[in-house]
């Protein structure tokens, strides 16, 4: 049996410790070991963006990060985006703009958009399209997603 590695990390502002195999991805550890299933998996090879989260201030595809690489890092997932009884303006904007259909890509889009708005609070439509090009949505044709991000940018 492979040896498990002890990892200490911070997720959504709380300290976590877990054991993981070196071959396990961060998305697998979050979902299977820690029960944080808000981070979705669509391809496991970094092409769909459903598993996007924020790692030390950068958006990453968590299926391409190993669980052991979380050691000493700061992670924000969709579960940590807003307080217990509130929604982040992006979440609210996705609701109000009907920017989701099946919803499987939604957490990834919201995390990517958060990464953008933290760097560039007032992006153009073209800039949003560029930034979100790593997140695939098969339902919406992106129109309402782009509008939701523009709407949220106005309100933040």
């Amino acid at each position: 049996m492979p040896t498990r590695v002890h990892v200490t990390t911070r997720i959504n502002g709380e300290d976590y410790e877990f054991l993981c195999e070196p071959r396990q991805s961060l998305s697998e550890v979050l979902r299977e070991t820690l029960g944080l299933t808000g981070t979705k998996e669509g391809c496991l090879d970094g092409n769909c963006g459903a598993c996007t989260l924020i790692l030390d201030g950068r958006i990453v595809d968590s299926c391409l990060v190993l669980g052991v690489e979380a050691q000493g890092r700061e992670i924000t997932t969709i579960e940590g985006l807003a307080g217990p009884q509130e929604l982040h303006p992006l979440q609210q904007a996705f609701l109000e703009n009907a920017a989701l259909q099946c919803g499987i890509c939604t957490p990834g889009f919201i995390m990517s958009a958060k990464g953008l708005l933290e760097k560039e609070p007032h992006p153009t439509e073209e800039r949003i399209r560029w930034w979100l090009a790593g997140n695939l949505c098969r339902c919406t044709g992106y129109d309402k997603i782009i509008r939701a991000v523009m709407d949220a940018a106005q309100k933040i």
Binding site: R31, D45, N47, Q91, L100, G103, I104, L136, R138, D143
Partner: protein
């Protein structure tokens, strides 16, 4: 101009845009999809798939895998009830049970690369994956055929030894890959072509494309000691999963409970069972819950794509611009087993046109690719690509505006389609007129290498069976219990129809999608039927609630129930202004007047009402690279009545973009040995946000007389026009008629003779 609704009739709740009931769960990551299901002691499964496109399976040795530490069970086709070689009706049309069973786990032959051979359950997914390498399969590789024209030739490798061609009621007598030849004839097509002044005849091809939902197939099963089987999965139809499981596992329906989780897209691809029977068999062997999730390559190589096609189209017109004859032949790749959507394809091919003489031929052909399944308006996009490209060429030859040409020949109420049915009230003319009146059509397109294209499309829509329950709460709210998977906002579109009847707000109705033990039968969320048919069930149940509420009011007022009315949120007796009760006030009195009120309704409505769409696209073709950039896009569609316009727009935008991907990028690249060479999202390139502009929409409302609120299905028809609209625009930009999909930069440079 972005999104416009041409409202014909206004309602209180219907036509508004409330926030969807499941929205908060989905934007916070709390919604539980199939892959999120977890149970104590759960095992994880993986599937061994054929590395060959066509091979005889001589033997399978699972002993080494079974002996590996951490492995709990291995299953092969020996563990499945072997299907009889006969046709069964399983809710999605006729199905040969042997084919259904063999597609789940190959028995004597593997018929495509990716065909499931065996499944392993182990303590974690990595161990299960390692164990797959220890399964020894003795294959005899056979020649593969992965192109419909090749598969139809004499001497082609034969996939299914017992298959004979079924042609208009007659069975052939020799082995073949042509499963079916369909034909429809109207009038006298030869005579029609003789009357024609201009005839255009062209051949077209389209590549295999995939539904491309972001969430891979998944299934978790628990087979209890008493034979009770529970399956959690992402499916378009929990009851249809139950039907299929009962057949392939030879297990009674009432011992199977299917729990539909949230579903991450389907587009028709999540109707057949793939992993569900494997999870059940592995759970039966181990006594533990077992979960399987496909990888993306498994999804591309092992689940239904839509058929690649070869098509011939011939259309004749008079110089006055009247279409006098249409003829089409459509050959579809069914994949490894018969049953492509060639029938619907040919039926839709010329549906937008009122024409005296027509002939349609369709061939359903097996090839060594995954068994094709439904993909949004199955068959229609391929057929429309061919037909609408020829119509554009005819309009050009006649020197008339392409929308005017269509208006002159448009199908309307009373028009008989080539395949027989006569149209009820349809909104094709209204869609064409709305397109003509649009800002997009009226704004000239300027600039080099740019072109504007237009194309139209038709899809039948279906009714089928739906059931739901409504319970009244003492605070005047209601619970709506439904069995239709919510794949794009249908909890809300059903709740809004119930709310409209009950005089409540959308928020006062709480919809829940429940399992197969908890509500009456519901067919799939497919065929653009959920808002139409399940919405109708909600309407009927709400009407029954009102009837019972009126009886209670009558009891309280000692009046005749027939004299009790419900208007503007208030129950009252005719001619008596004193006694009035709101829905909420009466709800509070139910337990004192006979007990709670609940209602259930089951429906199987027939009048789905067809849907038409007209799409306009502006694009620019890079003369050096051949890359097409979409500049502007407008989708026009008859929704009958848009219950929640935002989600109708979403269907129109999403369908248009899937069609753009089909037109420009998407394609299975096949190797010489019949393997898919691009089974990742990197190489199978679906449109990204960067590839697109905003998608403008115009919702036309021509009420469907076959629905209480005039609803027509909206989900499918928007994928029908884009391919031809893009091709027609490329023609206007470059002067080249593209006759093969996808129209990649390479294909465009090739057509130009550059490469």
């Amino acid at each position: 101009m972005a999104n416009k609704v041409l409202v014909q009739k206004a309602f209180k709740v219907i036509g508004t845009r409330p926030i969807r009931h499941d929205g908060t769960d989905k934007v916070t990551g709390r919604a539980i999809y199939g892959g999120d299901v977890r149970f104590p002691g759960m095992l994880h499964g993986k599937v061994l798939r054929s590395p060959y496109a066509h091979a005889r399976i001589r033997s399978i040795d699972t002993s080494a895998a079974e002996a590996m530490p951490g492995v709990r069970a291995v299953v092969t086709s020996r563990d499945l009830a072997q299907g009889e070689d006969k046709i069964e009706d399983l809710g999605e049309g006729a199905v040969n049970l042997k084919y259904l069973v063999d597609n789940i786990l190959a028995s004597d032959k593997a018929l495509y690369k990716g065909h499931a051979i065996a499944a392993v359950a182990a303590i974690d997914p990595h161990t299960a994956e390692e164990a797959l390498r220890l399964i020894k399969v003795d294959f005899e590789e056979l020649p593969a055929v992965v192109n419909v024209r090749e598969a139809m030739k004499d001497g082609a490798p034969i996939l299914l030894e017992k298959l004979r061609t079924s042609a208009m009621g007659k069975m052939g007598d020799k082995p073949t890959n042509i499963a079916t030849h369909l034909q429809f004839v109207k009038g006298d097509v030869e005579k029609g072509f003789k009357e024609a002044d201009i005839i255009v005849e062209r051949e077209f091809e389209t590549a295999t494309v995939h539904q491309g939902y972001i969430e891979p197939q998944n299934a978790t099963a628990m087979w209890n000691t008493d034979g009770q089987l529970t399956v959690w999965c992402s499916t378009q139809g929990a009851f249809v999963v139950r039907d299929q499981l009962a057949k392939v596992l030879a297990h009674p329906l009432f011992k199977i409970k299917v729990v539909p989780t949230e579903i991450g897209g389907g587009f028709g691809g999540k109707i057949p069972v793939y992993l569900e029977p494997l999870a059940a068999l592995l759970s039966r062997k181990t006594g533990k819950p077992v979960k399987l999730i496909m990888g993306r390559a498994d999804v591309f190589e092992g689940t239904g794509p839509t058929p690649a096609s070869f098509m011939r189209v011939k259309v004749g017109v008079t110089t006055a611009g009247k279409i006098v004859a249409v003829q089409g032949e459509v050959d579809f790749e069914a994949g490894a087993y018969p049953g492509s959507a060639v029938g619907p394809g040919i039926m839709c091919m010329f549906a937008p046109y009122d024409v005296e003489n027509g002939k349609l031929d369709g061939y359903d052909v097996v090839v060594n690719k995954p068994k094709s399944t439904a993909y949004r308006a199955p068959g229609a996009p391929q057929a429309a690509f061919a037909a609408e490209t020829v119509m554009d060429e005819l309009a050009e030859k006649l020197g008339v505006d392409p929308i005017e040409f269509r208006l002159k020949n448009a199908a309307k109420e009373g028009t008989r389609r080539v395949d027989g049915p006569v149209f009820p009230v349809v909104g094709y003319v209204e869609c064409l007129e709305a397109a003509q009146e649009s800002d997009h059509w009226k704004t000239p397109l300027t600039g080099a290498n740019r072109g504007r294209g237009v194309a139209t499309g038709f899809w039948f829509n279906v009714g089928l069976q739906s059931s739901c329950n409504i319970t009244v709460n003492q605070d005047g709210t209601v619970n709506l219990i439904e069995g239709s998977t919510d794949i794009g906002g249908t909890r809300t579109s059903l709740a809004m129809q119930a709310a409209e009847v009950l005089g409540l707000s959308a928020e006062d109705v709480k919809p829940s999608v429940v399992d197969t033990d908890s509500v009456g039968y519901n067919n799939v969320t497919g065929g653009s039927r959920t808002t139409f048919a399940s919405g109708w069930a909600a309407y009927e149940a709400a009407q029954d609630v009102l009837r019972q509420m009126r009886e209670r009011a009558a009891l309280i007022w000692e009046a005749n129930p027939d004299d009790v009315t419900y208007e503007n949120g208030s129950f009252s007796v005719k001619g008596d202004s004193k006694n009035q009760l709101t829905f909420r006030e009466l709800s509070a009195k139910l337990n004192q007047t006979g007990g709670p009120i609940s209602a259930s309704a089951s429906v199987d409505p027939k009048g789905a009402g067809g849907a038409f769409a007209v799409h306009i696209v502006d694009l620019e073709v890079d003369p050096e690279t051949g890359k097409v950039k979409i500049l502007r896009y407008t989708a026009v569609q008859d929704a009958g009545k848009a219950i929640h316009p935002s989600y109708v727009e979403g269907q129109m935008q999403g369908g248009a973009v899937q069609g753009i991907g089909w037109a420009l990028n998407e394609e299975y690249f096949m190797t010489a040995r019949g393997a898919m060479a691009n089974s990742t999202f990197l190489d199978y390139r679906m449109p990204t946000s960067l590839d697109l502009p905003m998608i403008d929409t115009i919702i036309v409302e021509v009420a469907n007389p076959g629905h209480p609120f005039g609803v027509r299905g909206v989900g499918e028809v928007p994928i029908v026009p884009p391919q031809a609209a893009v091709a027609n625009a490329i023609y206007r930009a470059t002067g080249m008629r593209m006759t093969r999909l996808p129209m990649t930069p390479g294909a465009i440079l090739h057509a130009k003779g550059v490469i």
